[in-house]
């Protein structure tokens, strides 16, 4: 039986840091020094460890931690037909990534994420989220050598992401998150992202979520609320919760994934800090609207930092929950 979800459910945005043994193995695999099968074993081991950790600290809605993904767009481009992977392109400082190139019609010859979803879901009775990258973001982060324009490519991607979401639902996913971090960069393309998300989420019964980060929300809010998903997950800690003022002016009509942990900082938040963030959010949102999570994927933190941050997040949430229960009893 599936455990029931409490008020203020705790969850994660997607990625967790890879343990050192997996980082080493991935480097070895890229040099051809170990076999695919060995790497897969280690990815499974790391996934098991993260699932067990999330259960142990009492997170309510789990993620598989993406031990087998490198970049959130490249991972899809590697499996979908129509993509090639380019040479290295720099993002900042000494960081480079391989940007996908669309060279042909995009098709989904086989599911991309379903197998890993099933693997993770079989390890726990708690729900595991299905994790997808949104069509607009895949388009924006790829070179386009095939489709006529950005819209045509985005809509083609929306269809394959839809197929993938349907398969995740069939495999038992109760929550499907379709991340669109690129959405906040070009406000004038928000209608395109919404059009694509309508296709991607068409007919789904699972709870749908989208995660958005790094951007000028002033320019896309409240239009953002038209994205056809049940929940929008936002980075709030990194901006000192500035967005709350905006949400007071225009009510946030969906569920909110409330980022309460800064994923860019090594410093582990105190329980009081996190409690204060949740309480400030409770001034603006109804408790049933709120899902508590970190700002973004935790993959850039050290394993121990990520664990400490998640633990604080869960403990703080539990205390607030208790307070809410007391308040409702006293009413």
């Amino acid at each position: 039986m599936t455990p029931s979800i409490p008020i203020l459910p705790t969850t994660s945005v997607g990625s967790f840091p890879k343990p050192d043994y997996l980082k080493r193995a991935r480097a070895q695999a890229s040099r051809g020094e170990i076999k695919e099968k060995k790497l897969r074993e280690l990815e499974e081991r790391a996934t098991r460890e993260w699932i067990h950790f999330q259960e142990e600290i009492g997170i309510d809605i789990l993620v598989d931690g993406e031990m087998y993904r490198d970049d959130m767009v490249t991972y899809f481009a590697e499996t979908l037909k129509g993509f090639e992977i380019s040479g290295l392109v720099r993002s900042y400082g000494n960081r480079y990534y391989r940007k996908p190139v669309v060279v042909d019609e995009i098709k989904r010859a086989k599911p991309v994420t379903v197998e890993w979803f099933q693997f993770a879901q079989h390890l726990t009775k708690k729900p595991v989220k299905g994790m997808l990258t949104g069509p607009y973001t895949i388009m924006d982060w790829s070179f386009n050598e095939y489709y006529r324009d950005r819209r045509e490519l985005t809509l083609a991607l929306a269809e394959v992401i839809h197929e993938e979401a349907v398969d995740l639902e069939k495999a038992g996913a109760q929550y499907i998150q379709i991340d669109e971090p690129a959405i906040s960069v070009r406000p004038e393309e928000l209608p395109l992202a919404i059009e694509a998300m309508k296709i991607a989420t068409r007919g789904l019964r699972a709870k749908t979520i989208t995660h958005i980060c790094y951007g000028d929300f002033q320019k896309i809010y409240p239009d953002l609320l038209e994205i056809p998903v049940d929940q929008i997950d936002l980075e709030l800690s990194n901006s000192e919760f500035d967005l709350l003022a905006l949400f007071k002016r225009y009510p946030f009509t969906k569920e909110i994934g409330l980022g309460v942990i800064d994923v860019h900082s090594h410093v582990v938040e105190t329980k009081d800090q996190v409690k204060e963030r949740i309480e400030r959010a409770l001034d603006v949102f109804r408790p049933e609207q709120i899902y508590v999570d970190p700002d973004c994927g935790l993959k850039t933190r050290e394993v121990q930092e990520a664990k400490d941050k998640l633990r604080v997040m869960v403990e703080a949430t539990k205390e607030i929950r208790k307070k809410l229960e007391m308040a409702s009893l006293n009413r």
């Binding site: 720099r90 900042y92 480079y96 982060w141 050598e145 950005r150 819209r151």
Partner: protein
């Protein structure tokens, strides 16, 4: 004379192990396996590598590839005393970032921003080297001002520092000096302020220097032809980016086809650096497409006054694609010249 040139940066690494020297060396530097002097020597070596690549690809006026630059803001602001560099911000609509400078006190001219880099590149290059600077308006606009009374005073101070740099570059032998001012296309209403800042900057321009104002990350709608009155020798802009479509992309973001429309309506009364190669997509322009664009341009500008280039710096592309695109452009120009000789 019809010239093949580039805009600003060149990819710092490529796919082969030799081409990844800089990335490896930064890693070694972080692990304290090499010292700063060694890292600087490697930056020189990579600069030499990318100068060679541009020449091999047929570029006739090159840049040093800005191998030492982290981004268009940090490298310059980091050298100007009075600026503090803070958190990472997205650079326009790209997937690249810059550290936002904050001016918290009087800005001091360091007495050299890119002069040494220019001298190094110029000494080893067999073709002319263009010095490239971020313009005073963009430097001010993407920074924060906590010291100067207002934005105009802040940008004017930067214009003075860059103006002095222009004189130093001229003394060091630079013939071509380019200023990149992408921020103007995001704040077009500020053209009057931009004109004031540029009049001030231009008062420093020495005789005999070819100055270029390069504008990208948008189109010229609303500021053209007014900007052709600015005190600068050449104007450069995007003539390659994808067209705006009904729901995907807007004219604001994608300058290429909008700029063609604007230019064909009112021909430019200045020298033109035409960014006809798309440096933000790996899709290769065909020689036919480029030849057609060249013909269209020659109907508007005399060959004497025309340079051809990509629409952006090349770092948004993998190195192999960047080099191939430059080679295509040069080939088209070469064939055009040969055809002309035959006639």
């Amino acid at each position: 004379m019809l010239t093949v040139t580039v805009v600003s940066h060149y990819p710092k690494i490529g796919d082969s192990p030799e081409e990844q020297l800089l990335r490896r060396s930064f890693g070694q530097f972080d692990r304290k396996e090499i010292n700063e002097a060694e890292l600087e020597r490697i930056k020189d070596e990579v600069t030499q590598q990318v100068i060679q690549e541009q020449i091999e690809a047929g570029v006739e006026v090159i840049t040093d590839g800005q191998i030492r630059w982290d981004d268009p803001m940090t490298y310059l602001a980091g050298k100007i005393k009075g600026f503090t560099l803070t958190g990472l911000l997205r650079y326009f609509d790209t997937n690249t970032f810059y550290r936002q400078p904050i001016a918290a006190e009087e800005l001091e001219d360091p007495g050299g921003l890119v002069v040494k880099d220019f001298q190094f590149a110029n000494a080893i290059s067999s073709v002319p080297v263009k010095a490239v600077l971020t313009g005073p308006y963009t430097l001010a606009k993407l920074s924060r001002n906590r010291y100067y009374k207002n934005e105009e005073e802040f940008a004017a101070r930067l214009a003075d520092i860059l103006g002095e740099e222009t004189k130093r570059l001229a003394r060091a032998g630079a013939k071509w000096i380019q200023f990149d001012e992408p921020a103007l296309l995001r704040f077009k209403k500020e053209l009057p302020l931009f004109e004031k800042i540029w009049t001030r900057l231009a008062s420093f321009f020495p005789e005999g220097i070819e100055t270029i104002l390069f504008l990208n990350f948008g189109n010229l709608q609303g500021i053209y032809p007014a900007i052709s009155e600015l005190p600068v020798g050449s104007l450069g802009f995007d003539l390659a980016g994808p067209p705006a479509t009904k729901h995907g992309g807007s004219a604001e973001q994608f300058g290429g086809s909008e700029n063609w429309r604007i230019l064909e309506r009112t021909p430019l009364k200045k020298k033109l650096v035409a960014g006809i190669v798309d440096a933000r997509n790996t899709k290769m322009e065909t020689e036919e497409e480029l030849s057609k664009k060249l013909e269209r341009l020659l109907a508007l500008v005399s060959g004497e006054d025309l340079s051809l280039s990509p629409n952006y710096g090349l770092e948004f592309l993998p190195r192999a694609a960047a080099k191939k695109k430059l080679a295509h452009l040069s080939k088209v120009v070469r064939e055009f010249r040969e055809a002309k000789v035959k006639v």
